[in-house]
């Protein structure tokens, strides 16, 4: 009897019997990470298996699969979901000298459970022909009446907006942000729709004058192979908000190693590879994100936007205020 069960299990688990491998649940789209993973496999001989999906559903899958999950690493594109995974006790503590050394303290978890892998900022963009740069100042200012019918921003279902609002709640408190939210929503030029690129295109087309996007989208369009993207992006300027106060809202894409990881050693190896020079340079060159390693050069587009003051808020707070932010956005009617 036992022999048969052994055989059965052997048959079922055939594929995981491979020697060196690491398994990833990734919220980052396959095309935007696969080349790096291939490089990693080439260098180390460790096979990388990946399932992509929305961060929330991947979390759900991890919870259901529990300690038997085949995944070793959860990769997300926003810190809020990393914090949520941590709250659900899915991650384990990792002591890696290299990770701690390379990643600045505010871009990794105090309990060493998750690590930022690349940096992005959420910035104000505007149409220079219709907006005087001197009229722009801060995120808070976007609730001002002078922007009525002039603002484009994507849906509040998007985690980047949730994290921005969460950061503002951390900085200004719920009441003040809620008042701001009402003002902002009443300034919308159209109901929120589409992604960040859509907001850029909408401003270029004259639907609105001001928008909120992650900076790498603008960079990506400027460098795009599609002419229409470049034409649109060139009509847009970037503005660093909050330079005299908290600084620009920052977010990370990041990862943590799961509690039940069966390939912990390989997983750490992969995370270390991802903060290494090769990977960071790739992020910067291909995805136009800021390198987590401040010593590395950023891409030329990013450099052209100059230096800026970044908000040094502990990213953990973004996760903690995530649900508050969402409910606030519901209340102020941010669709």
């Amino acid at each position: 009897m036992i022999k048969y069960i052994h055989l059965l299990i052997f048959l079922f688990t055939l594929q995981s019997a491979n020697a060196a491998e690491v398994n990833i649940y990734s919220a980052r789209k396959e095309a935007l990470i696969k080349p790096l993973l291939d490089q990693f496999s080439k260098e180390t001989g460790i096979a990388v298996n990946i399932v992509t999906g929305k961060a929330d559903t991947l979390l759900k899958r991890l919870e259901a699969e529990n300690r038997n999950t085949p995944a070793d690493i959860l990769l997300t594109v926003d810190v809020a979901r990393l914090v949520r995974a941590k709250e659900k006790a899915l991650f384990q503590q990792i002591d890696s000298k290299l990770l701690n050394q390379v990643i600045p303290k505010n871009y990794r978890d105090d309990d060493k459970q998750w690590f930022g892998l690349s940096l992005r900022s959420r910035v104000i963009i505007y149409a220079p022909d219709r907006v005087d740069k001197n009229d722009l100042s801060s995120y808070m200012d976007l609730a001002n009446e002078k922007w009525i019918n002039r603002i484009c921003v994507r849906s509040s279902s998007n985690v980047y907006n949730q994290s921005l609002v969460a950061a503002m709640i951390a900085n200004y408190g719920l009441l003040k942000v809620e008042r701001w939210g009402r003002g902002l929503v009443s300034n919308f030029a159209r109901p929120p729709k589409g992604g960040d690129r859509d907001q850029i295109k909408a401003i270029a087309a004259g639907v609105c004058d001001v928008g909120l996007v992650n900076n790498y989208y603008l960079a990506g369009m400027l460098e795009s192979s599609q002419k229409s993207d470049v034409v649109a992006a060139k009509k847009i300027r970037l503005f660093w908000p909050d330079q005299s106060t908290h600084g620009v809202h920052m977010n990370v894409s990041g990862a943590g190693i799961l509690k039940s990881a069966k390939n912990k050693k390989e997983a750490i190896q992969l995370l270390e590879f991802l903060v290494g020079d090769f990977a960071q340079q790739w992020y910067a060159d291909t995805n136009y994100e800021y390198s987590i390693n401040s010593k590395l050069e950023n891409s030329s587009v990013l450099k052209s936007w100059g230096k800026f003051k970044a908000d040094e808020l502990n990213l953990d707070l973004l996760g903690q205020h995530n649900i508050d932010a969402l409910m606030l956005m519901d209340r102020v009617g941010w669709k």
Binding site: I2, I5, H6, I9, F12, T13, S16, N23, K29, E30, A31, L32, N49, I50, V51, T52, G53, K54, D56, T57, L58, K60, R61, A64, E65, N66, R67, N68, T69, P70, R84, S155, S157, Q162, R190, P191, P192, K193, G194, G195, R197, D198, K201, A202, A204, A205, G206, V207, Q226, S228, A232, I323, L326, M327, D330, R331, G333, K335
Partner: protein
Amino acid sequence: MTRWNSLLVFISLLFSIPLAIVFGSLFFPEYEVWEHLRATVLIDYIGNSFALLIGVGFFSLLIGVIPAWLVTMYRFPLSRQLEWALLLPMSVPAYIIAYTYTGALDVAGPLQVTLREITGWQYRDYWFPEVRSLGGAIAMLSLVLYPYIYLLARAAFIEQSVCVLEVSRTLGCNAFGGFRRVALPLARPAIMVGLSLVVMETLADYGTVQYFGVSTFTTGIFRTWFGLGNSLAAAQMSALLLVFVAVFLYLEKRSRKQARYHHTSSRYSSLMQQRLTKGHGVIALIICAAPLSFGFIVPVSLLINWAIDTYLDVLGKDFYLLFFNSLFLAFITSMLAVGIALFMAYSNRNNQSLLNKIMVRLVSMGYAIPGTVIAVGVLIPFAWFDNSLDNFLIENFNISSGLLISGTVFILVFAYLVRFLAVSINTIEAALVKIKPVMDEVAKTTGMHTINILRSIHMPMMRGSLLTASLLVFVDVLKELPATLILRPFNFNTLAVRTYELANEELLAEAAVPALAIVIVGIIPVIIISNSISRSRPGHG
């Protein structure tokens, strides 16, 4: 017979597990979240969902039923080709048509950009329909969902006894009057089956409305589940959605009262298609060509146009694997769906107990549930089973089985079945009803066993319907996205997943290639279905 019955109950319960999880949530009220929803977004969700349902229902009826009538009853230029071509939009996933039209017609799309360049207008100087809006969502969903109604309406019109139409004409009805007062009411059960499929698809749609920024009940479920992190409240919302569908189906059935729709006439004089005059023919052609053009020709041309630029980058060994995966899943699922539906419908026929009826209805509810909800509803119990088995084996034999089923193709196929069994069951039940019980009795008197009767009498008589059922499921699986995304094993991609990932990154041109592949694979079964329907009436086609 009792063994059949217990098997029926077992299968039904198995496929109802995700539903049970959804409904089970109702026992744990989440007052706080509901209060928040009620105070903020619920009205919006309900309002938009209603508007969407009514809009999509109305337009898909309009562009489904009228062309079905025209191509069945009349001959006009291209009418023979339109018969099958009108089904083609079925192979285009809703989210893909949404992406294409947005890409072309949006404020920043080529059309409006050119318009502004030529005229020198600014954005606010002219009016242009907004694609990404509630109205846009209604248009997109109607354009790809109307074929369900067209398909069933046409089959009903073809089967209709010509005599009743002739009677209506002798009683003073003109062609339109006969259509309105006789043909349409008689085809109503079939049209309603089509409409209920459309309604359920509309309610389950997430991709289109989310992309268009329309908050519906379904996007609300996702927001509550994943944003607010409250799976109970989300499941409760899904349950309400289901209750709504159930009430809708019940009211429809009740409104028919005791009127029956099988034909009192057993005579089928062959359908004589009337040739239209040139003027009328052109009008009919325009009416029929419109849904086909906007639902298929235009979006597919756009996709081809984009794909020409990018296909070299996207095609590759990897791509053929996607192709194979999609085909494999669609094939396996459609075969199983037909097998299971046949079994269930047949058990129900032989033993029409209330229990059996409820079981069959229960299993066909899955169609109305958003794919993500089903996926999670499948994920939880199977992972629980895997983990429990693992615990048991470790304790007793010191072996770990790990996750036996979760994360395999099996669980994926299971989820597809939960979602799409409704399609095959509905189709096969409808076919089985038409076979008179007298056939069974005749066969039994010759000493045939039940299974043999099924094989040698029912199956051949239902061949067309079996084919239709399997191909509908095939196309649906091919297009399915959310459940695939959540449940698939490592390194396992499908065409739909690839399309979504690229389109979601706003790489529409790159997404065009896998999207086209879905459409191309989907076209083949669509044409087969259409042919089998044309042949379903003796002396026609």
